[in-house]
């Protein structure tokens, strides 16, 4: 019971913290066909996905090509990658941060599983 109360308090605090700045950040105007991640402190961010064989990690036993799916950072800390030219399909993807950390797209509500991780889904139409 104590654990549940503790968790509830922490959840309440987190929610309160999240709501303390209720105005969401605005996206750049030209954001079609691009993936975006706002992470100003990261030293590197890659997109690993079905479309690039997860950076080679699926078959590579963990070796991820360090330039595969590399995103570019602008002055505001926004990492972007252009998906132009990608064949139509439904793809799973995740962001690979600082060369070791997997995170799902925090502003994409559609999720899936990949090797025990929660990742994101994107549909590319052609």
């Amino acid at each position: 019971m104590m654990r549940v109360i503790t968790a509830a308090i922490i959840l309440l605090l987190l929610t309160t913290a999240g709501c303390s700045f209720l105005t969401p950040m605005q996206k750049p105007v030209e954001q079609d066909n691009r993936l975006l991640l706002w992470l100003p402190g990261a030293s590197s961010v890659q997109v690993l996905s079905d479309w690039n064989d997860w950076g080679g990690s699926v078959a590579a036993g963990g070796i991820i090509d360090p330039v595969c799916g590399r995103m570019e950072k602008d002055d505001s800390g926004l990492w972007t990658i252009d998906l132009e030219g990608l064949p139509g399909g439904v793809y799973r993807y995740a962001f690979y941060v600082n060369g070791y950390k997997w995170i799902r797209d925090p502003v994409n509500p559609e999720t899936a599983e990949f090797e025990g991780r929660t990742v994101s889904i994107i549909m590319v139409s052609k």
Binding site: M25, W38, G41, S43, A59, I63, P66, G89, N98, P109
Partner: protein, 412 residues
Amino acid sequence: MIIIIAGSTDSTNISIIPENWDFGYDCLFDAAASGTWKGNHPVIDSSYADAAVSVRASSPEVDFLATGAMRSDSLSRVVFRRGRGVVKWPGTPWIGAGVYLNDQQPFIAGLSNPVLEWGWVDIDSIQGYGVSSGGVLGFKGDYLIQFTQGDTLSQLNVYSPWMGFAGVDYSRARMNTADSTGENITVNVLSVRGDFRYFSPWLIVAGSEGGEGEWAVSAELRKIHPIDTQWGRIEVVPGMHFAGDSIQFPGSAFLPGQSVITLGAFLESRRYFVSAGIKGMLDLSSDSLSGVSASAGMISEGGIATDMIFGYYADGDYRAYVSSEVRDSSASAGIAVEIINDSTRVTGSASYTPRDDVCAELSVSGDADDSLQPACYLAVTTALGPVKCLFGIEWEYDTSPSLRINLTGLFK
């Protein structure tokens, strides 16, 4: 009279590189060492170094690629080779044919980059050969045959181009086992995707040959937007997944006997970093997969990133994950709570970025009960162009700290 005329050679018309040819190389390397802290000094327990070098030449008519790869660790050193040749119809990149040869295959079939597949199979047990071609009207296909310890795996893939409103892919894989008592497996997969004005259907039909009920179908309807404004839109996604009782597939793409209906609704903003979604799943054969899941995420103007995932299932299992992080260009701090049934784990994290290509991160976690089970992880990472370096220290309750150094790079 002697007249000496000296001058530089006009090099614009003289070159050892033929006109219209392009040459290049890739070099991928990955090295790591890990160990534990014993006494007052670190002890290296294991290490390895992988490297792959590719040299390629291409012209409008042909492509050639040669790759050599090496893995070296404390126990052994192995070397592999790979070659590939492709003939193209000049000026029409979708017409052509190729052949490649993998010697003791550590490579992914069909890929031209120096990517290795260590660990996927026994690295010295497979030889593979294949052909690939591009056909008229944009169709592409490839055929691969691999031999491993007497077993034979053949694979055929055919990909259609996008035909304006639909695209079709077909794959067939067959495994013939050397053991007469073993079971041969054949898998056929047809994938159809359409894109119409008001909806976009996606259909996958799969079958494994032999017996009854060995087939499966998975379908979703996408692009249904009951609300679509300049601010954002809501997408409703109905779907179904059905698999026969005795279906056999490598991996777990289809679970035998699985019959599931899904319905999801997802909010995506065009203007702001905010989203939300809810998805229900009804398991027609049992209650094990029935449940509801929801997620939401937002990045605020104040620099707070919030992420939430909840799930509740008919068998009583539940899961919740909430994280909130304050981010800045030079530092961040956050807290995350993960609840899985009766267990609750809290993780605090902080990072410092002294310059754009260097980041130091520390995370500390513990169970929210009497056992606590604390753990922490410190990582310092650098990304200097195509070279990345990681130095990490991990410690869990009642164990010695472990260390890891990793260096990865790709030069072109």
